[in-house]
């Protein structure tokens, strides 16, 4: 009865009214949604989108002398130079030598760090560790130390005058062992491994703990050994986490900065362009020519492209292999 009345009352014009009402609701919902997203959006614009736009803009400009003479007229003008900064950066052998160093670094350091992190995570996830809490904290602790501080502490540890162990290693070509050209990438890899293994372990641990216990139980019921549970169930289930951890590591490696910049003060043979991020920083600081925000932005963007390309290649290979 009531149904019919309503239907009657909602005669011909009703559908439109209903749609209006519905639209009104949706608009309200949309506004509420946007309001909730507002703090994030503002933050995202301020600290992400605007800096990127400004970096891209400044990479297209160079500061040129306003006039002639020995001192260029005593002023600089921002001049649009198109892709000149990129051409200069991409044709600079020092830049590619730096990229080569981070690649060499990454190819060796990332697998070691990821495997150790995975091993620690599996250990903490296993029944062998009764109370993983304290261990988790201890392994993660190095990451809680600010990167620059960690780099300084390690540089002191590599200094034969101050270190409890560095003096026992032979100098190579008048350079302290850990700061010698042949060893320094290894010294840096040691620093980053120490800092980030715990962090990557947490990524793996979170993924491991998200594996439903039914799966491992079922495997055990089917007669799988502990080793088989790990290799056939757990490791395949954390593949997504591994992808994330490795991608973050690749990007982080290309952006290596704290370690080379601090070590450079002790190992002056490195120069200001040992690694690409250091090179971009020193271009901005004026200690590498061409200098200024234009060339520095171009180097940074080029570096981001390289990091993006490497990450994309890895992700592609990974998905292809898992098929």
């Amino acid at each position: 009865m009531a149904d019919t009345t309503i239907k009657d009352r909602e005669g011909a014009p009703k559908p439109r009214a209903r749609r209006l009402g519905h639209g009104h609701n949706r608009r309200l919902q949309a506004i509420t949604g946007w309001l909730f997203a507002l703090p994030f959006t503002i933050g995202f614009l301020l600290v992400f989108v605007i800096p990127i736009i400004s970096a891209v803009r400044s990479s297209l400009y160079a500061q040129k002398p306003a006039g002639g003479g020995l001192f260029g007229g005593g002023g600089l003008v921002d001049t649009f130079v198109g892709l000149d900064n990129f051409k200069a950066a991409a044709s600079n052998p020092d830049f590619w030598a730096g990229i080569g160093r981070v690649l060499l670094f990454g190819v060796i350091q990332i697998p070691i760090m990821i495997l150790v992190a995975l091993f620690l995570a599996l250990l903490l996830d296993s029944f062998m560790v009764r109370r993983p809490g304290p261990w988790r904290l201890i392994f993660f602790l190095p990451y809680a130390i600010p990167g620059i501080i960690a780099a300084i502490v390690w540089t002191y540890l590599y200094n034969p005058q101050l270190s409890p162990f560095a003096g026992a290693f032979p100098a190579i070509g008048n350079q302290p062992f850990f700061l010698a050209p042949q060893v320094i990438l290894g010294s840096m890899a040691n620093m980053t491994t120490w800092t980030f293994t715990g962090y990557n372990m947490l990524i793996f641990l979170a993924a491991l703990q998200a594996i439903p216990s039914e799966l491992t139980e079922a495997a055990r019921v089917d007669g799988a050994s502990s080793w088989q549970v790990i290799t056939r169930v757990k490791i395949p289930m954390v593949r997504g986490a591994a992808l994330l951890a490795i991608l973050l590591s690749i990007v982080g490696t290309v952006q290596l900065f704290n370690e080379p910049s601090v070590m450079q003060s002790a190992a002056t043979w490195m120069g200001g362009d040992y690694m690409p991020m250091l090179m971009a920083y020193n271009s901005l600081m004026g200690t590498i020519s061409p200098s200024g925000s234009g060339p520095a932005s171009a180097l940074s963007i080029l570096m981001a492209l390289v990091a993006g390309a490497l990450a994309a290649i890895y992700a592609l290979l990974q998905t292809r292999m898992s098929r």
Partner: protein, 456 residues
């Protein structure tokens, strides 16, 4: 001035925070009155002058803020606010550039003499020639370091002529005299090295200023101009003299090759193996601190003063073939920055501040002002066995090669030179390569800046 290079890194997060905080804040730089015409202070109002420096302000020194307070007490109409920049010179240069572009820069800023041409090219300093002329008579040869393109942009503060410092007692034990020529130096180095002592150290990490200063001592300049074009002569006869001098001693292993700011340098001083070196005058203020008695800390026991304390003396560097000449290694002035609305008042303070020689001496500065400090610090009497160090430094100051000047972009030349000098230490390069690297880097720097340049 920089006991360890790592300290700035410790301070860096704070600096970045400070930069962010100061960027938004109105600095009392006097920019707000740009319509009022330069130098015309409104009657009866207090003129605000801001001054950015990076003097050490260390323990036992007269803090810059105290000196400035004295000025403020005596000059109610010109109020100066000093700010200490906790970072290195390069970071301060970038900060100045950013702030001045945002119209919030300081009125006065400390600039290294090597930075002045760079700041001029960037249009960050003001021509205050007329004001500076009034005070010119108060300063020595360093006055010229504040002149770019015929425009005076400020006043000199301190100088860093190269001097020779050595352990006189050890020299007497070895039967050697303070060398006065390069040949005498090499012979003395060989004699000392035979006894396991070294009368010099090749400072690869300071090569940019240290070797350019020695080229100046040999009568050369790295940069000059002709026909409105820069002439780069980093590789020259004078630099060859310097290169051969060091190469022969490095090859003979009669000098050490430790970086100046490496802890190994202090260790070599402490264990008595390093008994002399060619050093910038400003190093005199702290180089012997390693011999001081140390109070106990949580981790180390107290140590007594080293027996070497009081045995060291300051002398002139040997004749590099151009007579009694020395070259500059560092030193800085205070420039009037673009956007400063009261250059007249700023220069009045600038001159007053830079003639407070006793206070500046306490900061470890060898002042550029002609007025001699009344007394040398008590610490120096102990460390240099009562020698009149000030007189020796003043002689070095008078012997400075006045023609040595820097180019815009010199900041990018220094790392190339240092990198190359470090290769000498590793045995993979020669000292001549260092000058070749400096030559290339200088031409590149000028070309990249879009300035006219001809080689050699």
């Amino acid at each position: 001035m920089k006991p360890t290079r790592l300290i700035p890194w410790l301070a860096m997060p704070l600096v970045l925070v400070g930069m962010a905080a100061c960027g938004s804040q109105e600095q009392p730089g006097g920019n707000e009155n740009s319509t009022g015409g330069a130098g015309s202070a409104p009657a009866g109002e207090t003129v605000e002058i801001s001054y950015l420096h990076r003097l050490p302000d260390g323990a036992g020194m007269t803090p810059v803020a105290d000196i400035v307070d004295r000025w403020n007490a005596e000059h109610p109409d010109i109020h100066v606010t000093s700010t200490k920049f906790d970072g290195d010179a390069q970071e301060m240069a970038l900060r100045l550039e950013t702030d001045i572009k945002a119209d919030s820069g300081p009125c006065l800023a400390q600039l290294g003499y090597n930075e002045v041409p760079d700041m001029y090219v960037k249009g960050l300093v003001q021509d205050v020639s007329a004001e500076a002329d009034k005070y010119k008579a108060n300063y020595g040869g360093a006055y010229g370091q504040m002149i770019v393109n015929g425009e005076t942009v400020g006043l000199p503060q301190d100088v860093g002529p190269l001097v020779y410092i050595y352990n006189a007692t050890e020299f007497a034990n070895l039967g050697i005299e303070v060398p006065t020529t390069l040949d005498e130096f090499k012979t003395a180095a060989a004699t000392a090295a035979a006894a396991g002592k070294y009368i010099a150290d090749f400072n690869a990490d300071e090569a940019g200023y240290w070797l350019s200063g020695q080229t100046a001592a040999a009568g050369g300049v790295w940069y000059s101009s002709a026909d409105n074009q820069w002439k780069v002569t980093v590789e020259s006869d004078a630099s060859k003299t310097v290169a051969d001098f060091w190469q022969s001693m490095i090859d003979a292993k009669s000098v050490l090759t430790i970086n100046r700011w490496d802890d190994a340098y202090n260790a070599a001083l402490r264990d008595g193996s390093l008994i002399g070196n060619i050093a910038a005058a400003w190093e005199v203020a702290f180089i012997l601190d390693v011999f001081d008695a140390q109070a106990a800390t949580d981790t180390t026991p107290a140590t007594e003063a080293s027996p070497y304390q009081g045995q060291w003396r300051v002398a002139q560097i040997p004749d590099f073939g151009a007579g009694a000449k020395t070259g500059p290694d560092g030193g800085s002035g205070v420039a009037v920055m673009k956007g400063c609305a009261y250059p007249e008042q700023a220069m009045e303070f600038n001159n007053w501040f830079n003639t407070q020689v006793d206070d500046l001496l306490s900061q470890g500065l060898v002042t550029a002002a002609l007025e001699a400090p009344t007394t040398q610090p008590e610490k120096w009497n102990t460390q240099y066995g009562g020698q009149d160090v000030l007189a020796e430094l003043s002689t070095a100051n008078k012997n400075l090669n006045p023609d040595f000047a820097y180019i815009p972009g010199f900041a990018s030349v220094v790392p190339s030179v240092v990198e190359s000098a470090s290769a000498v230490v590793s045995g993979s390069g020669t000292v001549a390569d260092v000058f070749a690297a400096g030559q290339t880097a200088s031409v590149t720097a000028l070309t990249d800046l879009g300035l006219p340049v001809t080689e050699g």
